[in-house]
Amino acid sequence: MELEIISFGKIAEVINNQRIDVSGLSTTDELKAYLEKSFPLLSEMKYKLAVNKNIIQENHDLKNNDIIAIMPPFSGG
């Protein structure tokens, strides 16, 4: 399964936008564990995921070509 990863704010300094091939993963919780292992700095940051522009509050199933946004706490205004 391929996913498109986009990141914002402080997290964009740690993870570039990229496509990743993650055959063994099927949920956002598994993806989080994978990302925090691949990018250890991420595990020290607060962040939320959005899957195809929907902000995820709980574990969520993933499918091929989903767009995953990794978003640190907002600071607009």
Partner: protein, 147 residues
Amino acid sequence: MSDRKIKNIFVSGKIDPAFIAESISKHSTKTAIGGHSIFMGQVRRDEIDGKFVAGIDYTAYEELALEKMHQIREDIFEKYPLSCLHVHHSLGTVLAGNICLFVFTSSAHRKPAIEACEELVERLKAELPIWGKEIFEDNSHQWKENS
């Protein structure tokens, strides 16, 4: 859902006071309006560990922010009897002392305009995926976090 279209709220760089004046003056033809409420956010020259903030560089997940703003706009129109509602937010660099957020609500009487304006500001700070990077005068930076 209403048939209101998704509006762009983003402005490149600072929000010019002349734009704000123009926006106010455009409402003179809407004679059912009896009260306007305006909030403007301005970039503060904070001092942090002896360094001063020169400006804030704003970025956003624009598509998601505009969808989210559309929902907020629908909620606010449903909750308050407003004539109109305008939101503008900067992207890119805004130097200290300049305006980065302009929220403008209008209604027949003052209370809905005032309450809707406040609720809009609180919701957009909490819910819109926008990030501010504080740039110091020595070009170092830190990322803001809304409380």
